[in-house]
């Protein structure tokens, strides 16, 4: 397995989608290739940083609701009740 193939198979490896033989070849390459170890670690770090961006949305939260949002929703509520 080359470094290129390892990177191609990386997502499947991390998702547990590789069969046993391919997984074994993948892990053998990792055991002899520090560059690919670096790559896999940095790939995992990248995903973790993205996922944290998703959950730590505090700094993105708007301080106020968009103007008119609540009024529009409450108007829809009244309209539905009148139907």
């Amino acid at each position: 397995m080359t470094c290129r193939e390892l990177i191609d198979f990386l997502a499947a490896y991390l998702d547990g989608d590789l069969d046993e033989q391919r997984r074994s070849v993948f892990e053998h390459h990792l055991s002899i290739c520090p560059s690919c170890v670096d790559y896999v670690k940095s790939y995992e770090t990248t995903v973790a940083l993205e996922q944290r961006l998703g959950t730590a949305a505090g700094d993105e939260l708007p301080e106020e609701l968009p103007e008119g949002l609540l009024d529009a929703v409450l108007a829809a509520v009244r309209s539905e009740k009148d139907r």
Binding site: Y43, L61, P66, L70, E80
Partner: protein, 218 residues
């Protein structure tokens, strides 16, 4: 010699922003009953409580101006279809998906510019299959060590620079925590193609972050 026997944990498959807060409270039967009866106070509570988070989700996918319309459309959708809410999912997740769907509809309506190729953003290889320009180890493999406002901005801006179809799948899967099957359904892809696209998007993002993350030689 660096340790190359690191064991790698699977990337988290399931994560929802909705698990972060006290979202079970929105599913209280009495609260759902109030919504079904058209209780204005209950709707005010819902919009005030979930509106800001839904704006964050929408703003990740569309412009702020479009996001306002998307969130409004989603909450009005709740008013019209709350009788069909069966309570199998969290109410917040149900509304979140309405927001995502409405935002994706806006994106589809846009006259799309031809998308730039992602190939230039992926790792390059030599003929023998080795990486052409390995940058060396990152400063740390612990995400905690990068937890700064500047890093979050860097990640956010790097995502924004990805070609649209790659940015969308990254946001849906990794930021919004939607699983592979549902993401594939939302984007009209097979699950296998969704996985391939996500992997390429993550690789491109990794390449964009790498110059900022490597150890600086002493």
């Amino acid at each position: 010699m660096r340790d190359s026997s690191h064991s790698f944990a699977p990337v988290s498959e399931e994560k929802s922003p909705d698990t972060a807060g006290n979202d079970e409270a929105w599913n209280r039967p009495e609260f759902i009953g109030q919504l079904r009866r058209g209780d204005q106070g209950a709707y005010a509570e819902l919009v005030t409580g979930l509106g800001p988070r839904m704006m964050v989700t929408a703003c990740r996918l569309v412009s702020e101006e479009e996001a306002r319309d998307v969130v409004q459309e989603a909450f009005i959708g709740v008013v019209k279809s709350i009788d069909r809410f069966e309570g199998r999912a969290l109410l917040s997740t149900w509304i979140h998906r309405m927001v995502v769907n409405a935002a994706l509809t806006v994106l589809r309506r846009r006259k799309r510019k031809p998308e730039s190729s992602i190939d230039d953003l992926l790792p390059r290889f030599l003929e023998d299959g080795h990486r052409a320009d390995p940058e060396g180890p990152w400063r740390s493999s612990e995400p905690d060590s990068y937890e700064t406002v500047a890093t979050r901005r860097l990640v956010r801006e790097s995502i924004e620079r990805l070609p649209a179809s790659y940015r969308e799948i990254l946001i849906l899967r990794d930021l919004e925590g939607i699983d592979t099957q549902e993401t594939a359904d939302l984007l009209g892809l097979s699950p296998a193609n969704a996985k391939v696209r996500l992997h390429r998007a993550r690789q491109a993002l990794r390449e964009a972050l790498a110059p900022h993350m490597v150890e600086v030689a002493a």
